[in-house]
């Protein structure tokens, strides 16, 4: 039953990079982690601790060398490339440090990109996309290009984009790293709101203050979970 309740379940997850010859980097050395739906988890750690590698694995952008990863109850650790794409597209929303918007597309078009690969009708989804843009406060900038927006606005477009397929899980990789503290707070508040509406959030950060917003903070070191701090109780499952 516990397996059904976990949106993310990592079992003995390892990731090794073969650098040719004898050299080998063990980025993850056996991670066990369970994230329940609706919780907000922050991952912290110095660079090289394996937190980005873990986020890539959780985001289905990469496959573990060994161990298992269940996303919403499905084992995705050995899925072929196409199915991983499917899992990313339909189940996960990404928020990146550098926003990663497509430069030649407008705000509304950027929000629509994930729909494209789910084979959804863009015209039918148009109102939904506009609504998302309004939610993040960009209802009046639908036809602007990313280079006409400020960093905070761009990150809010990325947040709207991450929501368009209504995923259960949202992964944020240093979402405020490129923002000044005031806009950073605005973005973080948006993320808080998402969590309040039931989205599971996994956030990677350097900043202790940001991490305090999460239910749990996981500290990583040398490819292992060093310690785990519970800030506040996770929402109970019904």
């Amino acid at each position: 039953m516990a397996q059904e309740q976990a949106i993310i379940r990592l079992e003995e997850l390892e990731k090794r990079y073969d650098l040719g010859g004898e050299a080998e980097v063990r980025a993850l050395r056996g991670i066990d982690l369970v994230v329940r739906p609706g919780s907000y988890v922050a991952i912290m750690g110095p660079s090289g601790s394996g937190k980005s590698t873990m986020l890539n694995l959780i985001g289905c952008l990469d496959r573990p060398t060994s161990g298992r990863y269940f996303l919403g109850g499905t084992d995705v650790s050995a899925m072929p490339d196409d199915e991983l794409s499917e899992a990313r597209g339909s189940g996960i929303g990404f928020i990146f440090q550098s926003y990663n918007l497509i430069a030649q597309l407008t705000v509304i078009e950027n929000i629509q990109v994930p729909l494209l690969y789910q084979g959804k009708d863009l015209d039918a989804a148009h109102d939904h996309c506009v609504q998302l843009a309004q939610t993040v406060g960009l209802g009046d900038r639908l036809h602007h290009r990313p280079n006409q927006l400020s960093g905070g606005q761009q990150q809010r477009v990325a947040i709207a984009r991450s929501l368009v397929n209504d995923p259960l899980l949202i992964l944020a990789d240093e979402p405020t790293g490129n923002l000044d503290s005031r806009t950073g707070v605005e973005v973080l508040e948006l993320i808080d709101q998402l969590n309040a509406r039931g989205k599971t959030i996994v956030l990677v950060t350097h900043d202790e203050r940001i991490a305090t917003r999460a239910h749990r903070v996981i500290h990583m070191k040398d490819g292992l979970i060093e310690r785990e701090i519970v800030n506040r109780p996770e929402p109970s499952q019904g």
Partner: protein, 430 residues
């Protein structure tokens, strides 16, 4: 696995959008294809036009005809004799015609022609002409259009009448403002009544005429009955040249053998040669088989087309390489975008299709412009140079489909390269 339907139109829209983002680059890339397609169509059109002209002329000689022509033998001994004033006897004879008619299967009729070069006089004007002594069937076999009056008739030949039919050009030169049908012309010491004006259907300038002098109008033909020609001119032609008299005895200058059908022509050609060679000790005649000429012309055309086509195809190939080059650069430039799309759920084939669509749009777009130019260029060429050009639909189709194929073939590699990128690596790309 859920098979997601393909966002086909939005992919094309996206492709065009990304191409428009770099207008100059896209146009320059397209130029290779434009010139390639244009040159394929234009070159084939020029080749086709050139061979068409030759073929039309050969066709007018009649594909079911075999033409025999008397030749002055190239023989030193004879030439020395002729120089001393004795007459030189050579060429086709009436007997040859009768033998062909009697022995070669499939012959409908043999049309004998005597050709005499003489001045024709009317009133005060005198025009150097070619007098053709022939039978009434000439009109049907060679192809004459009656402009006025009639051609020679059977009775003219039977009665050895002094009647003649003249070509349109000659009529214009002799009887400027008078009705030719009311006039008589004088050749040597005899008058011939004009009974008709005709126009030769096969362009007369294409027919090599014996003893043709340059700078002379080519359609000054006078047709008289064969029997009349025989009795009025005899068989010995005397030509006075500076210091010497040249005499030739030639019965017939030309014979056109009309065969039952095209199939009989090729069988009959060696038979006629074999038959005539028994009676002709020297090589004093030639045979012209329009059908074979036509085949040769077609063969030449094919080679011509292949050569021109391959030159043009090479330029298409170069255009394709240009597209591939640019697309590879584009893939590198847009690595980040590929990473983003992959992270947002794009499968490899989505990325492949996205880039393939761009190359295909480039090459098809270039192909379309190339087709338009390729149709215009031959038109301009024929206007400027007077050279006939024919744009055949198949050459347009060929060039266009090659341009499409070039887009797919040369687009596939960059598109595959784009799809193969690791999403994490691509996302990290600056």
């Amino acid at each position: 696995m859920k098979l997601t339907s393909f966002p086909f139109f939005s992919t094309i829209r996206l492709g065009i959008k990304s191409l428009l983002l770099h207008k100059l680059r896209s146009v320059l890339t397209m130029l290779g294809i434009i010139f390639g397609v244009c040159s394929v169509i234009a070159m084939l059109a020029i080749g086709e036009g050139a061979s068409y002209q030759a073929q039309e002329e050969i066709k007018k000689l009649g594909s079911q005809n075999i033409i025999l022509r008397s030749l002055k033998p190239v023989d030193d001994a004879n030439r020395a004799d002729a120089g001393r004033g004795t007459s030189l006897e050579y060429g086709l004879t009436y007997d040859d015609g009768a033998r062909i008619q009697a022995t070669v299967p499939g012959v409908i009729r043999v049309l004998p022609i005597r050709i005499i070069r003489e001045n024709v006089r009317f009133a005060r004007s005198s025009v150097a002409c070619q007098i053709l002594g022939t039978l009434p069937t000439y009109q049907a076999i060679v192809g004459l259009d009656i402009v006025k009056g009639r051609f020679l008739a059977e009775t003219d030949d039977l009665n050895q009448d002094n009647v003649c039919t003249v070509t349109e050009g000659l009529a214009g030169r002799l009887f400027a403002f008078q009705d030719p049908l009311l006039q008589s012309i004088k050749i040597n010491s005899f008058y011939y009544r004009v009974v008709g004006v005709v126009r030769e259907r096969n362009m007369p300038e294409q027919r090599t005429q014996p003893g043709k002098t340059e700078g002379e109008p080519l359609d000054n033909n006078v047709y008289i009955p064969l029997s009349t020609a025989r009795s009025r001119f005899g068989e010995t032609l005397v030509r006075r040249r500076a210091g010497s008299i040249e005499m030739e005895r030639v019965q017939l200058h030309q014979m056109t053998v009309q065969m039952r059908d095209v199939a009989a022509v090729e069988a009959a050609d060696p038979q006629i040669k074999g038959l005539l060679d028994r009676f002709h000790k020297q090589n004093d005649y030639e045979t012209i088989v329009p059908l074979q000429l036509l085949r040769q012309a077609e063969q030449t055309k094919r080679i011509f087309n292949i050569v021109l086509g391959s030159i043009a195809a090479i330029s298409l190939l170069v255009g394709g390489i240009g597209i591939m080059n640019i697309m590879l650069a584009t893939v590198t430039e847009r690595t980040r975008e590929i990473g983003i799309r992959r992270a947002l759920g794009a499968k490899r084939r989505h990325i492949t299709v996205q880039f393939l669509v761009e190359t295909v749009v480039l090459s098809i777009g270039g192909g379309l412009v190339g087709v338009v130019l390729g149709i215009m260029v031959p038109f301009v060429v024929s206007r400027v140079t007077d050279m006939p050009t024919i744009v055949t639909p198949w050459s347009v189709l060929l060039a266009f489909s090659i341009s499409g194929a070039v887009g797919i073939v040369f687009g596939l590699y960059p598109a595959k390269a784009a799809a193969k990128l690791d999403p994490i690596e691509a996302l990290r790309h600056e």
